[in-house]
Symmetry: C2
Amino acid sequence: MKANEFNYLLRATAGKKTITERSKDFPKWYQDVIEVADLAEHGPSKGSMIIMPYGYAIWEAIKSELDARISEAGVANMYFPMFIPEGLLTKEKNHIEGFSPEVAVVTHAGGKELEEKLVVRPTSETIIYDSFNRWIQSYRDLPLLINQWANVVRWEMRPRMFLRTTEFLWQEGHTAHATEKEADDFAKAMLAVYKEIAQDILAISVIDGEKSESERFAGASRTYTIEPMMQDGKALQFATSHNLGDNFAKAFDVNYSAEDGSIKPVWQTSWGLSTRSIGGLIMSHSDDKGLVLPPKIAPLKVVITTVGASDDKVKKAAQELSDSIEETTLMDDRDISPGEKFYAYEKRGVPLRIEIGPRDIEAGQVVIVSRDNGEKQSVALSDVAKTVTQELEAMQKRLYTQSQERLKNGVVDCKTEAEAVAAVEKGKFARVDFKIDSKKEAQLKKNHAITVRCYPFGQDGKAILAKAY
Amino acid sequence: MKANEFNYLLRATAGKKTITERSKDFPKWYQDVIEVADLAEHGPSKGSMIIMPYGYAIWEAIKSELDARISEAGVANMYFPMFIPEGLLTKEKNHIEGFSPEVAVVTHAGGKELEEKLVVRPTSETIIYDSFNRWIQSYRDLPLLINQWANVVRWEMRPRMFLRTTEFLWQEGHTAHATEKEADDFAKAMLAVYKEIAQDILAISVIDGEKSESERFAGASRTYTIEPMMQDGKALQFATSHNLGDNFAKAFDVNYSAEDGSIKPVWQTSWGLSTRSIGGLIMSHSDDKGLVLPPKIAPLKVVITTVGASDDKVKKAAQELSDSIEETTLMDDRDISPGEKFYAYEKRGVPLRIEIGPRDIEAGQVVIVSRDNGEKQSVALSDVAKTVTQELEAMQKRLYTQSQERLKNGVVDCKTEAEAVAAVEKGKFARVDFKIDSKKEAQLKKNHAITVRCYPFGQDGKAILAKAY
């Protein structure tokens, strides 16, 4: 399969030349990987980000996997305006308290000052539930299941590429149900979808559980989360799903007439996954040579590079080989040094590199190099297509196993707060079963930058403490 | 093929019951079709629009067709911030003159007044070419071909669903080339892509040509356009492609070193197609019963409705039939009146309706009804899958032929201005070969709401005059 659309990977001026080692300065290494892999650049206004073609191709791949599962769950995509009249945003008390410090406000438009200010959506509960109020009348209108892919704006004080940018891309799902249980089940089902995306597609092992009261989404009754461990031992909130109870239903008068004729509030959920997941992807697998991508999410799976004297015979053989491979493959027959070529794809995390030169053709074989472990194998030309498929599968498994081992070895059971703090300072997740009230939580955060990541499902109320992105 | 994701079409409360006749009040009819087909609703802030699931599914279908062609042309998708610092927007003189009356401005964010105001993108030339300045150094970096799918904001004084909304969805392509000719060829090639989408996919016949100086995109050297004729004889600017010359290159210092070492400005293009195209789609094919969709763009191609006593035998047969059809098919076995069921899909423009009841099963046949001409045919159960495919193809051709005939018969050659005005008042496009200077153009617009739609390609400088949406 050809991949002409990846010609931008060849652009001459992309990327810097050196990468800080992970062990020396993890945040600097993260920024370097983004730069050498040409994933994103700073935009002109503070905290904004330009998502470069390769970074965007990764987002499109995540989107495609997630969108299919959202549709499979019976949820319909639609689109709401990004400007929320200020009066709507303030209807749910906890919601506005949580978001008001972060919003961007349009005060002028069409050359005039607006009568009512418009807030650029930080999330869309308020504008969407204002419509749910019109659309839901009877139990026959339930459940109402919708989703939108959109940009949102939250003014960040300490912006960081993908992790915290003033504008980011995401999907936000919003549902209304007849019963509290059905809503809670649905919120958990969507968390399970996120877990599947993280584990099965992005090869990132996660802990799933419930957030503490102080870490809940503003306006939610319960917030569910998946939390993987990054290579430096910090947690990352990867995606969240909220049981909103009837809090918004009451604020927006979203009621339905039940089969028995009684009028009841609906029970709601909302859930989102954003471009932040790309930050988690980078910090899960990448190394000191640059980006490492699990094959299932890599926009480009294979690159075939000619080596040695690239005469017409070599170029022709490389093209034939490329055509024979089912997975997305780019053929690079530029007459530049092999080192320069190899590095271009290594730093961008292309899973497999196939080297073909005059001597390979004579011997009827090629060299296949795996990005994650650097292993090389000589493979007969006739076996290449099969080997590529097998090795991509094997790499996906290796990366997931590695992430799984990191998380497994990274969780330490602690009996006291002092033990827990010491464990987290060593780059571990502390699992504790002592009680953490909101006062204690605030202290841990203030004194040690430690937060309760979640109360994992099925672990008898134990909490996971960690530092986090 | 199943279509569970279309269950929202069954929602009980959707849509009003009556449609104004086209002949009585075309604009009212247009609004009614949007309402009965549940395509969009007004948003809470003036001029904003909520795109409902069915309308959004049509946009996703258009997007999918267009995105594949953009990629085929070697253009990479990426994403730029939507907030443009005011200082960037004002760099190209004609550009800011054209857009300044329409912009929305963020003055406050994160609880503070911003030092530099941020304009919500009305289009992204300025923020993108600010980056092109960094990315382009030598001829090896050219051509640079990128595209983004995004929301944009233009403050509209006379908003109308899909056609003019304060926020809309679109793609905007931006390219830089080494020569003026290459840029002009590329701008024309992308217009040809839009023409293909309009004609081959949306079954809308168009005139392609160049805009007059006064109708050009703000900052362009030449603007190319495709202009179909709506059912009321008005034109609609469907999509445009701009040869930007070196205007923005000079404003943003986008230069490259040529092979001979000389420093030269790049030559640029930009081109866009928006959710406005859905407005054009509605006004091209729909009728007094509601929406009519060309099969190639219809999110749902076939609906199977049970009629008469829907016992288990009928439901089972309907399900089997549904499974046997390759095209996206919804099976509706609700026990409601056939009339109610038929109307639900008719007003939404589902191309084919298949009716199946106890007597049909006995006779081993079903009735297939075509949405566009209302024709019914009895088809043996074993021939249904084949007939569906054939009839969808035939309908696509019928709708395109109808659009082609309308445009062909709608263009009238006129020798004088008086003739032209009279023709346009009768709902025609006037084709004229007398000179129309900018003064004359302004008069026609002011006195008759008539504009020069374009100078069609290959017609010796003749102009098309019409009223337009």
